[in-house]
């Protein structure tokens, strides 16, 4: 492949992958069965995908892709997107279509469209997706960048290192959770908290989680682990598939590090990141994209009521279609809210009318990545945040 017999795009992609493999001590390349690319419609993203298209690139493994901007919806319902934004989004979408990507525009491919099985070797970028596929499913992916995942989609191979090897999937950090972690929102706080207690790259194993988290709980947990830190895999002992017990999680060895997370630690995170009560200008949900259950929860609270501020619910096209069939879309639309597909909270410049405003969300990741746009998010559990959007104020 490096010799160019499969074309210039494969040669170029393989050169980058071989470089990564060399740095991390890979002995060989191994085939993948799935890929997910964190499309972002930002400058580097467009430059790289167009470069591969220019070299004649075509994906051997068609990857699903992250959201960017739903231009038509925002033009109609929020603001006219500036020409520079329209141009880069249109060009990016065209290039990904040409290279053979699946234009799913969702950041939760592991819940719909691109769901791996136990042991499957895959190349997933999107920092919240990587921990989900490794930890919850037991599939095997390193923390790919969007570019290295696209290279893998082109060649159909990845260098074999890191989390592709049994020994690197074992836990080295024992995390004792001595706080009551139950709700989906509790997992936002726990996910944010852990890297602050132990910033190292080792795989952690958590004990003290009493109930199996919902898919949304796992989703929130992985997203926050990779916002306040960088954790590509974890175990919940007795819950996730590679950790039926402590011995399995640690491969029979003793933990190299021990961390305890107390109720006070969780409360400390809440105090530091969640923000004080007060007026809000808008509400934003869907980082990561909301599931149909979460959309249903919102509809039940908003039924027969009217939002006091703009409400944006970001989700996949499939989930919006389901919401339409189930009546949630009508309920939320009548309340004055929006369910928008294919869109990310972090793609400039689509949300610029809200720069400098205050808002509510259920997602610490959404709040963090919007700090550079001077949007002050208060963070509350989804149901509390919806209640706040109905009155225009976070009251507690």
């Amino acid at each position: 492949m490096l010799a160019g017999e499969y074309g210039r795009a494969v040669e170029y992609a393989m050169r980058i992958q071989a470089g990564v493999g060399r740095v991390f001590g890979a002995k060989r390349m191994v085939p993948i069965t799935r890929a997910h690319v964190a499309l972002s419609a930002q400058d580097a993203d467009l430059w790289f995908v167009e470069k591969l298209v220019g070299l004649g690139g075509k994906c051997k493994i068609p990857p699903t892709v992250n959201p960017s901007i739903n231009l038509a919806y925002l033009n109609k319902h929020l603001v006219e997107i500036p020409k520079a934004g329209v141009d880069i989004v249109s060009a990016t979408n065209a290039a990904y279509r040409k290279i053979g990507a699946v234009l799913s525009f969702s950041c939760t491919p592991y819940l719909q469209q691109n769901v791996p099985s136990f042991g499957e070797v895959i190349a997933f970028s999107e920092s919240s997706a990587t921990p989900y596929v490794n930890s919850v499913f037991g599939a095997r992916s390193n923390r790919e960048s969007s570019q290295s995942a696209l290279c893998a989609a082109i060649t159909g191979l990845v260098p074999e290192y890191g989390l592709l090897l049994d020994e690197n999937r074992l836990a080295e950090v024992l995390v004792e959770v001595k706080a009551d972690i139950r709700t989906d929102f509790d997992y936002q706080l726990l996910g944010w908290c852990y890297p602050l207690k132990h910033p190292g790259p080792e795989v952690p194993a958590f004990v003290g989680i009493e109930e199996r988290p919902t898919p949304e709980g796992f989703m929130n947990f992985g997203a926050e682990l990779n916002t306040s830190g960088s954790v590509a895999m974890y175990h919940f002992v007795g819950i996730t598939p590679e950790a039926p017990d402590l011995a399995a999680a640690f491969g029979g060895k003793a933990p190299r590090h021990r961390v305890t997370i107390t109720k006070d630690d969780i409360e400390d995170v809440r105090r530091r990141i969640c923000g004080a009560p007060g007026k809000i200008d808008f509400a934003m949900f869907g980082c990561p994209h909301l599931t149909i259950r979460q959309v249903g929860d919102i509809a039940r609270i908003a039924e027969g009521k009217r939002f006091a501020v703009d409400v944006w619910i970001l989700t996949s096209s499939l989930t919006r279609e389901l919401a339409d069939r189930m009546g949630y879309l009508d309920t939320i639309t009548r309340a004055g809210g929006h369910i928008i597909t294919d869109t990310c909270i972090d793609v400039p410049p689509c949300w610029y009318p809200y720069y400098g405003k205050s808002a509510v969300t259920d997602s610490p990741k959404c709040a963090y990545y919007n700090e550079i746009r001077k949007i002050a998010f208060k963070i509350r559990p989804l149901e509390k945040a919806i209640e706040a959007a109905l009155v225009g104020e976070v009251r507690e």
């Binding site: 050169r15 980058i16 470089g19 990564v20 740095v23 991390f24 964190a38 972002s40 930002q42 400058d43 580097a44 993203d45 430059w47 790289f48 992250n66 970028s125 999107e126 920092s127 990587t130 390193n142 923390r143 790919e144 960048s145 969007s146 570019q147 290295s148 995942a149 290279c151 890191g162 790259p201 990779n226 960088s230 550079i372």
Partner: protein, 138 residues
């Protein structure tokens, strides 16, 4: 007067360059660097207010999502305000693939004594092809 000492290392992306050392003892995120000036704008960062332009960045590690690291490095490089070379102490796949794609001469697995000897601003000659870092004294 000039003298030099050499340190072995392994290449990430090939090439040769030289420039003053810009040392970051904490992880670097290129998204929080102003593209037009190469100046680090991350609040409270060890390099806050300093420019990467023309330097050899000696980074403890990288940080940032699978998207932002590459986008940041791309933008400062396009403006000609990026580092000319990188010494990466703790490689991660996202940082490494960004260096390979941007073809910035860069190395890892450097002899530990390099980090003890090196002073901020000291001129480094980086030869990724030969796997050598040379420190020039004034």
């Amino acid at each position: 007067m000039s003298g030099s000492c050499s340190f072995a290392c392994s290449p990430i992306s090939g090439g040769r360059c030289s420039g003053p050392a810009l040392i970051s003892d904490e992880a670097v995120c290129f998204y929080l660097v102003e593209p037009e000036t190469g100046v680090v704008v991350e609040k409270g960062h060890a390099l806050e207010g300093r420019s990467m332009e023309g330097t050899i960045l000696v980074a403890h590690a990288g940080k940032g999502s699978s998207v932002v690291q590459m986008d940041g490095l791309f933008k400062i490089t396009k403006h000609g305000k990026g580092p000319v070379g990188v010494v990466l102490r703790n490689p991660d796949p996202v940082f490494v693939s960004a260096l390979l794609i941007m073809e910035i001469p860069s190395v890892y697995a450097v002899e530990e004594s390099f980090f003890e000897t090196l002073k901020d601003g000291q001129t480094i000659e980086l030869d990724a092809d030969a796997g050598v870092l040379r420190l020039l004294s004034r």
